[in-house]
């Protein structure tokens, strides 16, 4: 038996969580270093996955593992990664060490706390636990296994949101705790309801397969094979109902308008590193699952639902961007910007073109990196001043130029400036959408204009202008903070100029998904031919250089 690489990638952070949680109360520093060590070890394993991943392989999943688990439920412990999963695992493993480093002191106990209360250990253990569950959710090719970890990750996330927040703010500690726990409960209820509705659909899927195949199964590969071979023929209404059950859960997680309302609260009230974990890592499971499960299990229903989903995605893009423009709170602004970006990702997925989906998958990676950069620097800024309000800042670039500079890079990435990573993906999404739905594509570009508005206004109000009194004497980024920010900025630049290594891994998987949905790209057209779009992409990339 070969080395179970996928299990190991999930098991290492899980073990790390146990080890970190077991550190005695007085040895906080040890817990931090332990968490960092385990997250780096996970990164190594994820890198091994990427390095050994064969982009030329014809099999849909690689490094597969399959073991009996709960035979009565037709559940097998089946793991396997395609190009999309392996890249997203890489993103997760890459971001978590930065999250750990950025949150180095975020969970130190208050002086008044009881001596047995070990928030630091808990904080890092929970982060590693979330990482483990996210990784295994990306790897699962058994719907049930995916569901289990998709649901179970709510519990550590819930404690992270409700238990840890910004130290200094406009509110007293008790008020802040109240707002945090409110945000955490909202997060949990939204996602739990989504998950439970998905549970009904999961059970329905079992009933359908058990009825038609003789024994129930949750194996993605088996179901897809059986459908292709005509042995499994889900009735249209059943398929649509099951699709809706799955899609609802993913739309809550992603989050898609109008199911997004949990996100701003959760991201604002918790600490910046956890906000990054939510939006850059955990939410990606939602969009990833749309690609892997909604499209592949229910291709016909996906096509049926496309108009509505595209409409919701478009509303998300515009609504998120408009609300971001109006925000007074830095973290809330970033949260609404994320909603807008998730709109772009969903738009790309359901545009059902190769460019659209490949842009959407690339967008998942780029959005993770750019939001992490922006949010973490915002977190450093907020920790210095003790306020999240934009109006409390001004002229920071004169006092802390490095901080302001990195904040600008993160912001420019968020508004998809050519030359930075998100541009490539956003462009691909728009081109992919435009080739099939020209009007939608045209309207979606408004989102980019609005993005420029909210990012630049944010930068202008906080960083430029006369130095605000409380900002005077604000220290610039420290060594630890630089270690967090620099690699992210470098990655944004590198992937903006040369995204090929990532797209090479992603594209075969996207092609495979497209073939599952039986959708080819629209016929070449005199004005916008595929070849020319590809040329345009290359030209733009060249231009960006």
């Amino acid at each position: 038996m070969s080395f179970p690489l996928l299990t190991a990638t999930a098991a290492v952070p899980a073990l790390g969580a146990v080890a970190t949680a077991a550190v005695p109360a007085a040895r906080r520093a040890a817990a931090r270093w332990l968490a960092l060590g385990f997250s780096l070890a996970t990164l190594v394993l994820a890198a091994v996955q990427l390095a050994r991943f064969d982009t030329a392989s014809k099999t849909p999943f690689q490094f597969t593992e399959s073991h009996a688990w709960i035979a009565d439920f037709g559940v097998r412990y089946e793991l396997g990664v395609d190009g999309i999963a392996v890249v997203l695992i890489g993103l997760t493993a890459l971001l978590v060490p930065f999250v750990v480093l950025a949150g180095w002191h975020d969970a130190d106990p208050l002086e008044t706390s009881s001596r047995r209360w070990r928030p630091t250990q808990g904080f890092f253990a929970l982060i590693l636990l979330v990482e483990a569950m996210v990784v295994i959710a990306f790897e699962a090719t058994d719907v049930f296994v995916f569901y289990i970890f998709f649901e179970a990750m709510l519990v550590p996330m819930y404690f992270l949101i409700g238990g840890f927040g910004d130290r200094a703010g406009p509110h007293t500690e008790a008020e802040a705790a109240g707002r945090r726990s409110h945000a955490a409960v909202k997060f949990l209820l939204y996602n739990l309801v989504g998950g439970l509705i998905m549970l009904a659909a999961v059970i329905g899927l079992y009933a359908v397969t058990a009825h038609q195949l003789g024994e129930g199964t949750f194996s993605l590969t088996r179901i897809v094979e059986a459908r292709a071979a005509g042995r499994l023929d889900i009735a249209t209404t059943t398929e649509r109902a099951l699709f809706l059950g799955f899609f609802f859960a993913f739309a809550v997680k992603a989050p898609l308008w109008p199911l997004h309302t949990w996100l701003p609260g959760a991201m604002t009230e918790t600490t910046a590193p956890v906000a990054v974990l939510i939006t850059a890592v955990v939410d990606k499971v939602g969009t990833f699952a749309m690609l892997r499960f909604c499209l592949q299990l229910f291709p016909d229903a996906s096509r049926w639902a496309t108009p509505v989903v595209l409409g919701l995605a478009l509303v998300s893009i515009l609504y998120g961007a408009l609300l971001a423009v109006a925000q007074k709170d830095i973290k809330r602004l970033i949260a609404y910007a994320s909603i807008s970006h998730f709109g772009f990702i969903v738009l790309g997925i359901f545009a059902m073109t190769t460019q659209g989906q490949s842009g959407a998958t690339l967008y998942m990676v780029n959005h993770g990196i750019s939001t992490a950069a922006l949010m973490l620097v915002a977190g450093f800024l907020i920790a210095r001043r003790g306020s999240r309000l934009i109006e409390d800042y001004g002229g920071v670039q004169k006092v802390a130029p490095v901080l302001a500079g990195t904040f600008l890079v993160g912001g420019l990435a968020t508004l998809s400036l050519p030359g930075l990573a998100p541009f490539v993906s956003e462009f691909l999404v728009l081109v992919g959408t435009f080739s099939r739905h020209p009007v939608l594509g045209a309207v979606a570009t408004v989102g980019i204009v609005l993005a420029a508005l909210y990012v630049l206004v944010l930068y202008q109000r906080t960083m430029t202008g006369p130095v605000a009194e409380p900002v005077r004497g604000m220290p610039d980024l420290r060594a630890r903070e630089l270690v967090v920010v620099t690699p992210l900025v470098v990655l944004l630049l590198v992937l903006g100029i040369y995204p090929k290594p990532v797209t090479d891994v992603l594209d075969p998987a996207v092609q495979h998904t497209m073939s599952q949905v039986h959708k080819g790209d629209p016929a070449p057209d005199v004005r916008v031919s595929d070849a020319r779009v590809k040329d345009a992409r290359v030209n733009d990339v060249e231009a960006a250089k």
């Binding site: 009565d72 070990r118 238990g163 705790a177 949990l188 059970i203």
Partner: protein, 554 residues
């Protein structure tokens, strides 16, 4: 006394006229070995009564606890031996002249009941939680059950350091009845078993050391409503007898199915009378639904759960549910399968209402024991969803759910006994604020139990819920699954609220403390926790066990 006439034959009760040939009455065949679990438990209970009478007071507590534990363990060993001997499937048959079934479901449920009883003995015997009264360690039970609350006799008893060690034999009698209940194979045995386990429970409910009035009120309510439901059940039994001319399950089933073995003139006159059958069946069903705690027969649950001593509540919530659902399954699957099209819609309705009302009303509760009571109602609804599946998968899913649920319940109530303030257990939810900051371990364990109740994956609650919903969906009850999922979402809300309270709220300065228990309660909680996690992560072995036990004998 008048002198007997000379030469007359003297008759008395003990002599018969020599001339008549003796009438052969066949002695009943009792398979003692197959009834061993029940006999061991009841025998131990009788020994316990003797211990109570003859052993010096200071020895009674350890002796009773040990005796009860050994008796239950021996009975469990007997169950395992029977199951290993093939009685769960191949050799399954009705024993004791057809009165008691020895088959898979019966043995599985008996095993579950015995294990819950064993864990309950641990919590019953706990003597470190309450501060010692006058230098003597005391448990959760009243010093002297007969003393008037707050009266002089009670104070005297407390000063003397009395404890009610009778609880152990009483517990054993209850367990004995519960063992027979799901195995009962005729309606009279069913009724007798019901009374044998109910009466001890009424007594146990009244025995709380603290808040005795509340406890006695609970016992009276439970007794009155219980007696009422027993009467209804008995009336139903009478009607069914009137309909079928027999009380045996297989006999009634034959008549319901239209294939009685012999048709006597009396039977021919009644067997066409569907009113007798339907009303009788409905009344028996009502009696069982009362014990299960299903809406609309759930009214007793919150008061009784709240008032009873917490170890008793834990035992009752776990074991009664197991026994009653066992009896319900057997009744529906063995006696009334021919009536499926009549009872299924009714049970659908009961399941839906039970899930929704249990979950919705629980949201407003402010007392942790009442909260768990309403949650137990909601769970009864979930289990009913598996019951209406009417398939072997439905039976085994219910069996699995019962096993999973009872250990979560025992563990959760055992944790409740630990959280105390000056007035005894602090069951007011508001007092639990910030518990996670003071005692992270206890709060974390309770959180695991709550998550299991809420059915979060990787806990036994999820595996159980998935099993019953899967069986229901395959049995064509998809709407029931959707209602169940919605009810689960509502239920999750209040479980989560308790977690919020424990972890995210600041502790109150005068809040309760967590008592350090003896190894007894610690073991009980640890067992609950281990079962919860193991059944959540690797349920296959137990699903197999329940799957093999899914067939009733007739």
């Amino acid at each position: 006394m008048s002198p007997a006439a000379p030469g007359a034959v003297v008759h008395s009760l003990w002599t018969t006229a020599a001339a008549e040939a003796p009438v052969k009455i066949p002695g009943p065949v009792i398979e003692y070995a197959e009834l061993a679990p029940v006999l061991i438990v009841l025998g131990t209970a009788l020994v316990g009564v003797l211990v109570e009478a003859f052993l010096p007071r200071r020895l009674r507590h350890p002796a009773q606890a040990l005796l009860a534990a050994v008796g239950l363990a021996a009975a469990f060993a007997a169950v395992v031996a029977l199951a290993a001997g093939g009685y769960a499937n191949g050799k399954a048959h009705p024993a004791a002249m057809g009165a008691v079934a020895v088959d898979g479901p019966a043995l599985f449920l008996q095993g579950t009941i015995l294990l819950t009883g064993l864990v309950a003995v641990l919590t019953f015997a706990e003597r470190r939680l309450d501060p010692a009264a006058h230098g003597r360690p005391v448990d959760s039970f009243a010093a002297q059950a007969a003393a008037v609350p707050g009266g002089e006799a009670e104070q005297k008893a407390v000063r003397a350091g009395l404890t009610t060690t009778e609880v152990f034999p009483v517990l054993l009698f209850a367990v004995g009845g519960m063992l027979v209940f799901p195995a009962a194979n005729d309606l009279l045995t069913l009724f007798v078993a019901l009374e044998v386990f109910s009466l001890p429970l009424y007594v146990l409910c009244a025995l709380a050391r603290r808040q005795r009035l509340l406890s006695q009120e609970a016992a009276v309510k439970y007794f009155l409503l219980g007696a009422f439901s027993s009467a209804i059940l008995l009336f139903g039994v009478a009607l069914l007898y009137g309909y079928a001319g027999t009380v045996t399950y297989s006999g009634i089933a034959d008549v319901v199915g239209g294939t009685p073995r012999t048709v006597t003139p009396a039977l021919a006159a009644t067997m066409g009378n569907d009113a007798l059958l339907l009303i009788g069946g409905a009344m028996v069903l009502m009696g069982l639904l009362f014990k299960v705690g299903a809406v609309p027969f759930h009214m007793w649950t919150p008061d009784v759960y709240q008032g009873a001593p917490t170890p008793v509540t834990g035992f009752m919530a776990a074991a009664t549910k197991v026994a009653a659902f066992g009896a319900l399954l057997r009744l529906l699957y063995v006696v009334l399968p021919g009536l499926r099209w009549d009872w299924r819609p009714v049970m659908w309705g009961v399941a839906i209402v039970t899930m929704l009302i249990g979950a919705v009303v629980a949201v407003t509760q402010t007392d942790v024991k009442r909260l768990l009571a309403y949650s137990s109602i909601a769970h009864a609804g979930f289990i009913l969803a598996g019951v209406v599946a009417t398939s072997p998968a439905g039976v085994s899913s219910v069996l699995f759910y019962l096993g999973a649920y009872s250990f979560v319940t025992l563990g959760a109530f055992a944790v409740v006994t630990l959280v105390r303030d000056a007035g005894g257990e602090a069951t007011q939810l508001s007092k639990w604020a910030g518990l996670g900051r003071r005692s992270p371990l206890v709060a974390a364990v309770f959180a695991v139990f709550l998550l299991a109740f809420a059915g979060i994956p990787l806990t036994s609650g999820f595996a159980g819920k998935f099993a019953v919903f899967k069986a229901a969906a395959q049995g064509g009850a998809a709407p029931l699954v959707i209602v169940g999922v919605l009810a689960s979402a509502i239920a999750a809300f209040f479980y989560i609220r308790v977690i919020v309270l424990m972890f995210f709220n600041e502790p109150r300065p005068e809040g309760p403390t967590v008592a350090v228990p003896s190894p007894l309660t610690s073991t009980a909680i640890a067992v609950g926790l281990v079962v919860t996690v193991v059944l959540g992560v690797a349920p296959q072995y137990f699903l197999d066990l329940a799957g093999h036990a899914g067939v009733f004998v007739r």
